[in-house]
Symmetry: C2
Subunit: 463 residues, 2 copies
């Protein structure tokens, strides 16, 4: 084992690559222990943190498991090979076995984003107090009062949404929320409208619940979308007005008014997924549909996955009064899907000032990444591509106009150790997907990797 | 404010009652702060812990909220009044506004059960390490590998269930599990069988998913149950063989064999809810159905709610291979419903020895309570009641034979500040509920309160 001081690759990545080869080649057989962090760091003359980071990558990749008391144990690598009968988790998550050097993935946050220190301090505080007895009882099925109050206060003061804590239900993520909401509708009778292209995770929940889905085409001409929606016969429409996923389009105010009028006329509800309101880089946000809604037609959905942690599994719905009543009846004998402790910690995080500091930090970081990414795309690709973005969110779309397919572009990038992502799966009919459009995310990649990553991508695509 | 040293009521309860009256009478108006814990303890000459416990009760009851930085703030009490249009959470949880002096509730654990110290230490450990980056990414949709490995190891070594970590999916509680499992079946075509009486929480999930339910009567004659099941035409049966809920009956081995044979012949699956295997006070458990199942007909469900924390919202399913494949397809683009951090902490809690120590402690405590409860019932009620129990679980049923209804018995108990619970809701048709049968739980009440509680109940019922 040897660390090359002159390489551009950081020590921990060099070490990780060498250990990985050792595991794959059988130098470290399944079940064996890796050298201790302290010992290996001493042998190599590097910092213990370097070894720890390398080992952590190996854990993330599934090569080793961290076992308390017995260190890092090599896992059966055969299990990592994608296998049709029992696909590994990484495969199902859409991830690959090994992370690309430049990974423009969407959804995950940059390692270190989670405010672990504040979270730890609050958790300690709660578990050391008599309040810890909250862990011994079933919790409020609609969410802890303190968290609902903190959420409602922010919605009222910062998003102009007129709501009370009683209208809020705390849920375990977008998909769980939609799954639960759909139980208030009837799959045998009700159709659900959704944007096309749109978020595949929600499309699959609706499909699993056996509802008919009416796609509403999102194109340059909003009349197409409105006409699809207005003729949909849907009782529920899933929409992302503040940054349409994945096209990043912002729904104009007049369209918002038409959409609300449609809901009123059709006796339908709108599920407004406001998943990325916190990330806005050029102009102020338009008010959410929920703030324009005087008739109780909009269900507002917010999330903590984009700004705090996707692994926290926490989001919320704001239910208009008629649906609130149905929800409370349907879930009267249910338990909350969200752990009590996590809700309590988040509530205190939101009220003790930590949340504002954290959000500003993440917003600043994402704005810098957005600037770096758009600048690098201009610099290295210029007019060879169209960049589709509206100064919002955590990704943008890049269209290559030379006729290559998404798969060809993604494969060419992968060959250069750059991961960008196809967008086909977001279309109701993948054959309709726009040719040559790939997704480039910037929430997970380090800011310093953006420019060299786009440079490598440009070389891979255009030579 | 005055604490009476000669009263039988503990100081903190005296204090809580006086504060509560002060809030209800307006002495402490909505929005005002309660005196500081330190100051009030000094004024009254009592321990700070006494005041803290009293305040904690008031928080639990909703009279005050604990706000970091601003102490304990009086809440709008009017909101606590049950109201049909917006029922308070306590009401929906089946709880009452004020806890009875002797509360034989079911489900919740005794305050202090949760191993807060160990949980805190492990949480700290993880959040301080590089592993904390797990909070920044979407987690494994089927559950963290380390937790699934810990669960599988225990199932294989302690419950004789032949399974691998790959068959386990970590879920957010029984109801969520059933809701997700049902998406693999078709409500338009498939019937679900369940025990009658049976767990109402699961019945409502099945109903909400619009499946037809076929009740299988649980009576003294198992042939009735078998005949109902065998003629059910069901594709899925929800069963609680190790301690039938709520009758506590243990399914005999020959019936288990018949049930498995039925599933095989009917091409059906059995969801075995083994929710209280850890609590067994007289004889060894029978092997779970899942361990007898050679044909992949049994879905095994285990929980952490009864032994660790109902507020943790974590349980798991063990899927037989054919269903595992369908599950992985259906949830391929889903995220896990369970927070990453909680899974990691639990995995380490299970592997570092904490779990065994904790479980023994809880088992010992529940056995002592079971002994105290059954002894007190014999002593104070003798042959005036039938006690239905099989030395399992965390509750028993008491049948009063003098013709009084459940509601009359519960009301008479409540008048004496004792809470016992009606069982009607467990029947598919509440009119069929056995007269005079009430549920008496012992997981939540303190051991020392059991004997005086049953004495008070006997006086209330029989004079």
């Amino acid at each position: 084992m040897h660390l090359d001081e002159h390489s551009d690759t950081p020590f921990y990545r060099q070490l990780e690559a060498q250990m990985r080869e050792g595991i794959e080649s059988g130098t470290y057989p399944t079940g064996s222990r890796l050298p201790s962090i302290r010992g290996l760091a001493a042998d190599l003359g590097c910092a213990r943190n370097t070894v720890e980071q390398a080992y952590h990558l190996l854990v993330q990749e599934g090569y080793v498991a961290s076992r308390p008391g017995s260190g890092y144990v090599v896992q059966n690598v055969a299990y990592l090979q994608p296998d049709a009968s029992a696909p590994s988790c990484a495969v199902l998550l859409g991830g690959s076995r090994r992370k690309a050097r430049y990974d423009f993935t969407y959804g995950n946050l940059e390692p270190g984003t989670f405010p672990a220190t504040a979270w730890r301090a609050i958790t300690d505080d709660i578990l050391l107090s008599v309040e810890a007895a909250g862990c011994d009882a079933y919790n409020d099925p609609f969410g802890e009062e303190s968290l609902r109050a903190a959420i409602a206060w922010r919605l009222v003061t910062q998003r102009d949404i007129d709501c009370t804590p009683e209208q809020i239900v705390v849920q375990g993520g977008t998909q769980t929320s939609v799954q639960n909401l759909l139980t208030l509708f009837d799959a045998a009778r009700d159709t659900v409208a959704m944007e096309d292209p749109g978020y595949d995770g929600v499309r699959s929940v609706i499909g699993r619940a056996r509802f008919a889905i009416r796609p509403c085409r999102v194109t340059d001409d909003v009349r197409v979308f409105l006409s699809d929606l207005e003729s949909s016969g849907a009782r529920l429409a899933y929409l992302t007005p503040s940054s349409q996923f994945p096209t990043c389009r912002i729904m104009p105010t007049d369209v918002r008014e038409r959409v609300l009028a449609w809901a009123e006329a059709a006796d339908a509800y709108i599920l407004e997924d406001d998943y990325c309101r916190d990330f806005r880089y050029r102009e102020r946000s338009l008010a959410p549909l929920a703030s324009m809604d005087g008739r109780g037609r909009v269900i507002y959905m917010g999330t903590f996955s984009k700004s705090l942690s996707p692994a926290l599994r926490m989001n919320y719905l704001v239910l208009p009064t008629p649906l609130l009543k149905r929800w409370r009846e349907a879930f009267a004998s249910s338990y909350s899907p969200v752990p009590w402790l996590n809700q309590q910690v988040l509530a205190r995080f939101m009220t003790d000032g930590s949340w504002d500091r954290h959000l500003r930090r993440v917003q600043t970081r994402n704005r810098r990444k957005y600037d770096a990414l758009t600048a690098a795309l201009r610099e290295y690709m210029g007019d060879k591509v169209d960049v589709l973005e509206c100064g919002t969110g955590l990704h943008l779309l890049v269209r290559v106009r030379d006729g290559r397919s998404q798969d060809e572009l993604v494969a060419a990038a992968a060959a250069a150790d750059v991961a960008v992502y196809p967008t086909k799966k977001y279309w109701a009919n993948p054959a309709c997907a726009t040719k040559g459009v790939v997704l480039v995310g910037f929430s997970s990649i380090a800011e310093a990797d953006i420019r060299p990553g786009i440079a490598a991508l440009a070389r891979a695509w255009f030579g």
